[in-house]
């Protein structure tokens, strides 16, 4: 089965400003793909190019085996989209919007619709003008999740949801993947990404900087190690060790994950009494990439 989304070297200019400057992204079939990056990195622009709302200025882009610009309407039968900032018709009720969007997409699963309205605790009789941001997002989510599609494109879909509803959302995405479907999930909520995503792509200033499974990405960063030893060995010969601190019998350092094995081996020669090794959190992963971006700036 081919990848639902395949982007290579995508460029998008707004005037002379390159919003996307050689972006690569591949979402495999049946996976939830996290799409991460600082504000203004180009996540929404990428999604809007994928939806055929913006025209690309270069690069190869394939959506569900077609061209998102020329085949937009045909391809949209097979996908659903939830924008980050959901704006609904103020005079329609939530229920009317869900039904309209579902029908225009080619049909709603009635049973799933009822189930989702229930799980998201949405009151579909309220006029959209009276909904809060979170409730507007629920309307768009119910409309998307109740459709019979094979790809979801979600642009920060939970930014207005409360933690309970976020848990409901996570379950729904899990179920959707369980049916063999794919999801592109742009998000800043790292717990959500960690919990849901099979692979992630991190972009920065319109370019992909990392892509892979979370395990892959962890390899690119450092593990913190704290050990209590009988006798502290000489660690200076080791490569990949950062900020070592020795306090009596206790050693603390960070090590490039690739060199963790060698470091532990060296420690064991000193007779390990206790050892904690903490893998990098997604936050650290993030800060590393986002931080570089800050350093690059003059």
């Amino acid at each position: 089965m081919t990848a639902p989304i395949r982007i290579q070297g995508l460029r998008k200019l707004f005037g002379s400003f390159a919003a996307l400057d050689g972006l690569d992204l591949e979402v495999a079939s049946g996976e939830v793909h996290g799409f991460l990056g600082p504000n203004g990195a180009g996540k929404s622009t990428t999604i809007r190019v994928l939806l055929g709302l913006l025209r690309s200025d270069g690069g190869a882009i394939e959506l569900l085996g077609g061209d998102p610009w020329t085949d937009a309407a045909r391809l949209h039968r097979r996908l659903a989209y939830v924008p980050g900032d959901v704006s609904l018709w103020p005079s329609l009720s939530g229920g009317e919007v869900i039904d309209l969007l579902g029908r225009l997409r080619g049909g709603l699963d009635e049973r799933r619709r009822a189930d989702l309205v229930d799980r998201f605790e949405l009151d579909p009789t309220k006029k959209c003008r009276t909904y809060s941001k979170g409730n507007r997002q629920k309307v768009a989510l119910v409309a998307a999740l109740a459709s019979d599609v094979e790809l979801l494109m979600l642009d920060e879909p939970t930014s207005g949801l409360d933690p309970l509803m976020e848990a409901v959302f996570t379950d729904c995405v899990d179920e959707f993947r369980g049916e063999g479907h794919s999801v592109l999930l742009s998000s800043h909520i790292l717990a959500e990404v960690e919990r849901l995503c099979d692979r992630v792509s991190i972009i920065r200033a319109g370019r992909t900087v990392e892509s892979g499974t979370l395990a892959d990405l962890r390899h690119l960063t450092r593990t913190s190690v704290t050990a209590e030893l009988e006798q502290v060995p000489d660690l200076s010969g080791l490569t990949g060790i950062h900020e070592p601190e020795i306090e009596g019998q206790q050693v603390r350092f960070q090590v490039d994950t690739d060199h963790l094995g060698a470091a532990i081996e060296a420690l064991s020669r000193g007779g390990i009494r206790s050892l904690t090794s903490t893998p990098p959190t997604l936050e650290e992963l993030f800060l590393r990439h986002y931080g570089d971006w800050l350093e690059d700036e003059p």
């Binding site: 924008p83 018709w89 009317e96 080619g106 006029k127 003008r129």
Partner: protein
């Protein structure tokens, strides 16, 4: 007072945001008066010409219904006042209405007002800043009208009376919009309510000026003409205008204090849990049906108002050679009643352009608000989406015009007993569907170029209006007048149908429609 904290800062930001819009409205409105002062002098170079013109126009119900009671028409000042005061009052009213809704309900609806109010800004600051803004705008307008006329050897008192009556009329309708903005929950609806009020005021004064005079005194536009500029000014109607503006403003503040932020005076009613909308066309109709029905009713009533003038035109103009010439200028027809109604139908068609252009530009609003993005992410193509909007635009425009023509025929038939009028005036109105769509096509072409271009459609309306009302005064060359489709098409039913002209306008409409469609398909969609 803390209620008004921050008013100055808000006012300055409004002035900054609105500077071009204010300049445009005020300059256009001043130009209406000024061009009359210049033009009247050149068409009637000496007193004998003026006397003849006055004799032909005075107490003519048709003209009176269009422009108001005739006073001192044998003077330049009287002519200027009569020719421009209704247009000027309506333009001032529209300017004030748009200013008010833009800074009150529209801001509240978008959520921007919430952000502003969370800072050190008093509860009534935005309303006060808006009121001051509208007062400033109308004061500048009044001063502009006065000063533009004084230079033409006209008495100060009359110039001032004209300026103040337009400005105060603007204030009254600004206050109407302020009340409307408290009662309805969207800026669009507030404009609808205030716009209807302006329309009613126009019709009341038209009927009142021709028939039962009491009706004129129910209309602020009637009061502003009651000042009698250049005809022995009387100033007390200005106090009436100011008084009503104050009362309405106080009412609006009272309503504001009694309601919650973001809502109207009443809690929002729930809607259906399930939707009956199945298509993009259904959605567009749902969004636009209020506007379509409102405009259709308005045009029908307007048609009846014109029609009920009856055949009075003939009685009063029949023996005057000069007036025939003036009235049939550019027309070439012979039947005065028919040419009067031909012009009336063009007038109705120009008013109908208000619907057509707003309806086309609704797409722009949908795009900028992010609603289009939701729809276009479903299996709806841009073409299907835009044609749903255009279908409603075309259907609504056609229905409105035909109803306007029908109203005109019915009104005329009731007054004169000549039922055949319906058959003459409905086709004449139907012909103008082409012109109205030509204007709509320009709006559509502009929108196709960019979502930022909302102006071309309105410029087209303004140009056609100038051709209809002021072409003679401005001594516009014929080719320039022919750019206006309303002028290019024959003045039915006075003239005979011109197939070539109709096909010509039709071809332009189709070409612009295709071009707009191609442009829209090729450009990026904007958002928030």
């Amino acid at each position: 007072m803390s209620r008004f904290a921050g008013t100055t800062i808000l006012l300055r930001s409004y002035l900054r945001r609105d500077r071009w819009m204010l300049l445009g409205w005020i300059a256009a409105n001043v130009a209406v008066y000024w061009s009359q002062a210049v033009g009247t002098r050149s068409i009637y170079p000496n007193q004998a010409d003026l006397d003849r013109a006055a004799a032909s126009m005075e107490s003519n119900p048709a003209f009176v219904a269009l422009a108001g009671p005739t006073r001192a028409l044998d003077t330049i000042g009287g002519q200027v006042a009569w020719q421009s005061s209704v247009t000027g009052a309506v333009l001032a009213a529209l300017m004030s209405m748009f200013l008010v809704t833009r800074h009150t309900r529209a801001e509240e609806e978008s959520g921007r007002d919430e952000l502003v109010r969370s800072s050190v800004v008093g509860r009534d600051a935005s309303v006060l800043a808006t009121v001051v803004l509208v007062i400033l705008a109308n004061a500048v307008l009044a001063a502009g009208i006065t000063l533009s006329l004084v230079g033409y050897d006209l008495e100060w008192a009359g110039c001032l009376a004209l300026g103040l009556s337009a400005g105060l009329c603007g204030l009254v309708f600004g206050a109407v919009a302020l009340v409307a903005a408290q009662v309805v929950t969207s800026a669009r609806a507030a404009n609808g309510v205030a716009g209807t009020a302006i329309g009613i005021a126009y019709v009341l004064r038209a009927i009142g000026d021709v028939g039962p005079g009491a009706l004129t005194w129910l209309s602020p536009i009637g009061w502003s003409q009651g000042v009698r500029a250049f005809a022995g000014e009387r100033w007390w109607p200005l106090a009436l205008l100011a008084g009503v503006a104050v009362v309405l403003t106080v009412t609006a503040l009272e309503l504001l204090h009694r309601r919650d932020f973001g809502s109207g005076p009443w809690p929002a009613r729930p809607g259906p849990a399930r939707g009956a909308l199945h298509s993009e066309l259904g959605l567009v109709w749902r969004l636009q049906r209020g506007a379509v029905i409102g405009w259709c009713v308005g045009l029908f009533v307007g048609g009846i108002a014109y029609g009920s003038v009856g055949d009075g035109v003939e009685d009063l103009l029949g023996d005057s050679e000069t007036s025939r010439d003036i009235f049939l200028a550019g027309g070439g027809g012979t039947d005065l009643v028919d040419s009067f109604y031909g012009v009336a139908i063009v007038m109705l068609a120009l008013i109908a352009c208000g619907f057509t252009v707003t309806s086309v530009l609704r797409m722009r609003g949908e795009e900028v608000d992010g609603h289009a993005e939701l729809l276009l992410a479903t299996a709806v193509s841009r073409r299907r989406w835009s044609w749903a909007h255009l279908t409603v635009t075309i259907g609504g425009s056609a229905a409105g015009l035909v109803l306007g023509g029908l109203g005109l025929g019915v009104g005329y038939a009731i007054v004169t007993g000549d039922a055949g009028a319906v058959l003459r005036y409905v086709p004449a109105a139907a012909q103008q569907v082409l012109s109205v769509l030509a204007v709509g096509a320009i709006a559509w072409f502009g929108y196709g170029l960019s979502s930022r271009f909302g102006v071309p459609g309105w410029l087209a309306v303004a140009f056609c209006f100038v051709v209809l009302m002021f072409a003679t005064v401005l001594q516009m060359p014929e080719w320039m007048q022919d750019v206006s489709p309303f002028h290019r098409l024959p003045l039915l039913p006075a003239e005979s149908f011109d197939l070539a002209a109709a096909v010509g306008v039709g071809v332009v409409v189709v070409l612009l429609a295709i071009a707009g469609d191609q442009l829209l398909r090729r450009r990026d969609l904007s958002h928030q």
